[in-house]
């Protein structure tokens, strides 16, 4: 390119403006939780064997990438093995990673490892599963998820759509899991005595396994001719089980649960032939990890810590009012992505290698 003399100052001025604007944009895009100090970040998963975890991992990486002070993002998967979870925590710290976000699937068993790494000067943020201990003593901060809030949201919807009471079935994961207990507390705080649970207390055990869910649901449908609402804390595991209603020549009842693309598409295909099939979902909570990453990065880089340490899953779909969203289905993408997550649907599909 051959620039003549009068044009040169103009070109230089334009280039300077572009650089200044880009720098200003970059500064504005840097979130407040991202401080100036450089750090390495790691996400330590207790169990990584499902699409939810894969998308959560990708969400954590996406969130960390917003902060230029984070120089690397590592991941480890304990594969449900407590001993490996403990060794992952210690080895990640030994490798010089300064900020650890830990999904403590093993519960309090990993607390001693977290405490020793925290006392060695690292930033430790366990999230979603309670590991015991105290913030500032055993770890930097615990970032929880309000499952009780989910229960309340579900209860409010049920109350609105079944004002005269309802017969409900509540399905959760393994026996004794605290998530189900908290959700039940949330439900009971909203619903009165004319709302009855048909399942054995506190919930039907499904292990979040689609095959077991199918067997449990078959038994419950057969036993109870009048189920108004099914409440489940893992919506996609219902998809295989709901066709059981056809075998009994009954309409699928209202479903109150967490979102999933396969569930949304199932509703689209079947709601016309099942007059009672209404759907209400809360976000499945992949973005819980973003709050945990923000806390860890803020503490490690000297940024501003978030206002809260409790993630509240927002309401996502409501087939009755269409607010905040109507039921969503992306039939061109895999069933096991979560359209409620901040991460784009296409990026999620890529994250689960499909």
């Amino acid at each position: 390119m051959n620039l003549s003399l009068p044009k040169l100052p103009l070109a230089l001025a334009a280039a300077a403006t572009v650089i200044a604007l880009t720098a200003a944009h970059a500064q504005a895009a840097t979130p407040s939780w991202c401080g100036p100090k450089k750090t390495q970040l790691a996400l330590l998963d207790g169990f990584g064997g499902n699409s939810w975890r894969e998308i959560t991992r990708a969400s954590a990486a996406e969130e960390a990438a917003k902060c230029p002070s984070v120089t690397s993002f590592d991941y480890s998967n304990a594969q449900g093995n407590t001993a490996k979870a403990i060794s992952d925590i210690k080895s990640m710290a030994a490798r010089g990673v300064k900020a650890l976000v830990v999904f403590g699937d093993s519960g309090p068993a990993i607390l001693p490892a977290l405490t020793s790494v925290y006392h060695a000067g690292d930033v430790v943020v366990p999230y979603r599963v309670n590991v015991g201990g105290k913030a500032g003593v055993n770890y930097t901060q615990f970032v929880g998820s309000s499952f009780e809030n989910d229960g309340k949201n579900w209860g409010d919807w049920i109350k609105k759509n079944f004002p005269n009471g309802a017969k409900m079935l509540f399905l959760s994961g393994p026996a004794g899991n605290s998530q189900g207990e908290e959700e039940l507390a949330g439900l009971k705080s909203v619903l009165g005595s004319n709302y009855t649970f048909l399942n054995p207390a506190p919930y039907d055990v499904t292990n979040w396994d689609p095959a077991l869910t199918q067997q449990v649901l078959t038994s419950e449908i057969s036993k109870h001719p009048d189920i108004n609402v099914i409440i489940s804390d893992f919506g996609p595991s219902l998809v295989g089980a709901l066709p059981v209603f056809q075998k009994f020549h009954r309409s699928i009842p209202a479903i109150v649960t967490s979102d999933g693309n396969s569930l949304g598409c199932f509703w689209e295909q079947h709601h016309k032939s099942n007059p009672d099939f209404k759907l209400f979902t809360v976000a499945t909570g992949n973005d819980n990890v973003r709050l945990a990453v923000q806390w860890a990065v803020a503490e490690a880089t000297g940024g501003k810590v978030p206002d809260t340490n409790m993630f509240r899953a927002p309401v996502f779909e409501n087939s009755v009012t269409g607010k905040p969203n109507p039921v969503e289905c992306r039939s061109d993408l895999p069933g096991n992505i979560y359209l409620s997550a901040q991460m784009s649907a296409n990026a999620q599909a890529k994250a689960i290698n499909q």
């Binding site: 689609p210 095959a211 038994s219 066709p243 075998k247 895999p334």
Partner: protein, 318 residues
């Protein structure tokens, strides 16, 4: 086993009628069918005095291959099914080689193979579930004469196993080798080859079960076979097949699968807490196994009562 199952159904009819309603049976029978197929595979191995702990890996691998390779496209289902059979047959051959020819302990060898299979499952799926293709769902769940195809598959496999084991030369040799390998060797039969083949055919049956399981579960997990390991052994023992090897009871194995399935449906239908459900199942299982396994002390008592040592020796000899 037939009597126990009949009694169970009568108990269900009286105390938990919902568990024997048409819809409930239609919903739960496919799972009994899956367990029956897996149980028949385990029976072949137990007949040779072995144990196959790679059930979970075999079933899960078939599930993962049948769902991940087609990735929702019906046209890719057939190659995926072929691939599943090839992979599980290789796993069975691996077990057979280690147990039949290298004489390794069956429990140790099959645990090792199971770990290898889980490695393959992770490599294919990354542990992430994939939705079933529509074609596979239709093959597994469409009904003929009111029964889902999965149930018909189980009955077909039962007939096949029954015919091969009880009516063919190779089947009769197979049972003889299981009952007394030393005598079979003395007769010139190829003991090791038969023992090894038991593991291959067992894995092929696990593969069928896995593919059908992928069909009846819309979005199966990558570890769908895990929950089948203990029931697979339980149905074989309940059916009366000796853990030391020998005669197998295919029909009883299938009925035992029906029994176990109905038992869990009964426990669910009664509506007791989860802890009580597992206790009911354990008690019924323990009772069932005790009926077959306990050696009632009738003859030893007669011997003890006999005062004359010569008479006692005669009794022992008889």
């Amino acid at each position: 086993m037939v009597c126990a199952t009949a009694v169970l159904f009568v108990v269900c009819f009286v105390f938990a009628p919902s568990s024997v309603a048409t819809g409930a049976l239609a919903g739960s029978l496919p799972f009994a069918a899956i367990l029956a197929i897996v149980g028949l595979g385990q029976m072949l191995v137990v007949q040779q005095g072995g144990f196959d702990l790679s059930v979970a890996g075999g079933v899960s691998l078939a599930v993962v291959i049948a769902t991940h390779l087609p990735a929702g496209h019906d046209s890719a289902l057939l190659p995926a099914v072929v691939a599943a059979f090839v992979c599980t047959a290789l796993a069975g051959a691996c077990n057979g080689l280690m147990v039949g020819f290298l004489r390794l302990n069956a429990i140790v060898a099959t645990i090792g193979t199971n770990a290898l299979l889980y490695g393959a499952i992770f490599a294919i799926s990354g542990g992430v579930p994939e939705a079933t293709t529509n074609l596979l769902a239709a093959i597994a769940t469409d009904s003929v004469f009111g029964l889902e195809n999965t149930v018909w598959f189980a009955l077909l496999i039962l007939l096949l196993v029954l015919f091969v084991v009880k009516k063919t030369v190779i089947g009769r040799r197979f049972e003889l080798i299981g009952a007394n390998p030393l005598a079979a060797r003395a007769m010139g039969l190829k003991v090791r080859r038969h023992q090894a083949m038991a593991y291959v055919f067992a894995q092929l049956l696990y593969c069928v079960a896995g593919i059908l399981l992928a069909g009846i579960t819309a979005q199966p997990t990558a570890y769908q076979g895990d929950s089948l390991l203990l029931p697979s052994v339980a149905v074989v023992v309940l059916a009366g097949t000796s853990l030391l090897g020998g005669r197998g009871y295919p029909v009883s194995t299938v009925i035992a699968a029906l029994f176990l399935n109905q038992l869990s449906q009964f426990a669910l239908a009664v509506g007791v807490p989860y802890s009580a459900q597992t206790i009911i199942q354990a008690l019924a299982l323990g009772f069932g196994i005790a009926v077959y396994s306990l050696r009632w002390p009738a003859r030893p008592l007669q011997i003890n009562k006999s005062k004359d040592p010569e008479e006692r020796d005669e009794l022992v000899a008889s």
